[in-house]
Subunit: 319 residues, 2 copies
């Protein structure tokens, strides 16, 4: 039986992260409100340290390790924002971090993670988990899973807590869902601060395992990595800690098409002047497509991060 | 003898613009401070209405017209941010705006300006000023010049005033210079609020007419439109209202290369997650190149706007 984080864990995490994380800005836009028919508050985690919300959970997790665990070091497998978030959290806490990355990861991601003082171990993508286990067996490292970890969940939820505390009552709160760390944390934050606020997850339609899992109550595993543009949401299944929280606290999980993701991304970049990653656009998209029928609501959106290939994505935009 | 705006004109403009303009956010960055060796405050006018500081001056100018002038309408020639700024200002004040644009202006710019209710008149680029004069003669419109106008200057200065009031004493304040509206307004703001703050203009090296004009005291006119990437700074000469203010209140005018502009733009987009235009990168660039030798200073930078061709510029970035 796993132990699930309670809503109050988000409040405890917020105390732990005070003065460490950026209290990121909240943007509003007349243009966005006019286009969506809602009153929208964007929580800009693209301005978070390492460029994504992931730093919140990583710091919350590493800071709660025992002295012996800290002395031994931490490990994870990731080529994305979690790698950088864990690397920086460990560096700030004086803990050795080892990150297992696929050998074909972009050089820029390896360099960014190494820049925070982490040791990078590369291997064929398929062997990542095995290599991770070997390192744990050999060195006694503690695995900090990117999403299936109660402290990662509680830390991720602090972004929503800041938003809810800053802007007051919201009718809806939207967050993207990949493995479920951000969405389950967001749902716990709402449960702790504003239980009447509905929390909704948004997922790429071609990666809708979380929607299926949430509907059925069983973790649905995709057989291949889904080829969505939203690289932060290419996880094949949600975590064991995440699903029960989603089932209890999340009102709905919506899906959006790849074209809708590109359109929302273009809107965020060109109209709102925010460099965000496609995963962030996923969360905003249902407000631009008309999927959310009831208008005039106060809606929060967690923009998850901003680490992107500007040229590659910009080339997809329409005139 | 022209009448120059005094430093207090910026304070008067700020009262006029209260509740109308966005009080734009001020961003700081550990990464930027570490890289530059300074403590930098970025005034993010890319988040201003119409996506650029230009709205400030336009609203300040149109709101001070006589009732007869308002009834007749305003006109300008611009294909850039001033066109959109004037169009929105006029719309908000119930004044008819006519914008003369080169017939080869991008459709997206015509549409954006028309979207704010302005009438677009197109003509060959070379005939813009003639067409403008004809419209004034025929309809009695008032010309709102993009920079050579005391109310435009005072309005533009309100961005710097907000910054200086928000962050306290600064050693340096940097702004880009094209025609001189933003820089002269910025210099007046500093003179009004913090006379000890040095104001420095930054210009593309291949468009250094303002530097020459500032050095010699005579308006130097380029014979052709300079082909700088910073499209907001392609003006051929500074204004008659602008130069005397620059001479009196600006400590230096620096230049940066096109490669330095691209590097600063890439830093702003990919590290700071801010969609800004190349003109904004011009102002930041001297802090990244080491041109400003004295380290440890508190430095303000006016990021002028964020209306850009994302794909076209992103393609220039290096890995």
């Amino acid at each position: 039986m796993i132990e699930l984080p309670q809503p109050t864990a988000v409040l405890d995490a917020a105390v732990r992260l005070q003065g460490i994380v950026n209290q990121t800005p909240i943007h509003t836009s007349r243009t966005l409100d006019a286009q969506s028919g809602q009153h929208i508050f964007l929580k800009c985690e693209n301005f978070q340290r390492v460029g994504a919300f992931k730093f919140r959970g990583a710091y919350n997790a590493v800071s709660q390790l025992s002295e012996a665990q800290k002395a031994a070091g931490v490990v994870t497998h990731s080529s994305g924002n979690h790698a950088q978030g864990l690397a920086l959290a460990a560096q700030l806490l004086g803990v050795k971090a080892t990150i297992v990355m696929p050998e074909d990861s972009p050089q820029i991601k390896k360099a960014a993670t190494a820049g925070y003082g982490a040791t990078i171990v590369t291997c064929p993508a398929i062997e990542r988990e095995v290599v991770c286990r070997e390192l744990i067996a050999e060195h006694g490292y503690t695995l900090i899973h990117p999403y299936d970890n109660p402290h990662i969940i509680a830390g991720a939820g602090t972004a929503a807590r800041e938003l809810l505390q800053a802007v007051g009552p919201l009718d809806l709160l939207l967050a993207p869902i990949g493995g479920g760390g951000l969405l389950s944390g967001t749902a716990l934050a709402a449960a702790a601060v504003q239980p009447n606020c509905q929390v909704i997850g948004v997922e790429p339609a071609i990666a809708n395992d979380a929607q299926q899992s949430w509907q059925t109550g069983q973790i649905v595993r995709l057989t291949a990595v889904p080829p969505t543009l939203a690289d932060g949401l290419r996880t094949r299944y949600v975590g064991e800690h995440n699903l029960p929280i989603l089932r209890q606290h999340v009102a709905d999980i919506l899906t959006v098409t790849e074209a809708e993701i590109v359109a929302a991304l273009q809107f965020l970049w060109t109209r709102l002047k925010l460099v965000v990653e496609p995963s962030s656009a996923v969360a905003l998209a249902p407000l631009l497509t008309g999927q959310i029928r009831q208008k005039g609501q106060r809606v929060g959106v967690i923009l998850s991060g901003g680490n992107v290939d500007v040229a590659g994505l910009g080339a997809l935009f329409t005139n």
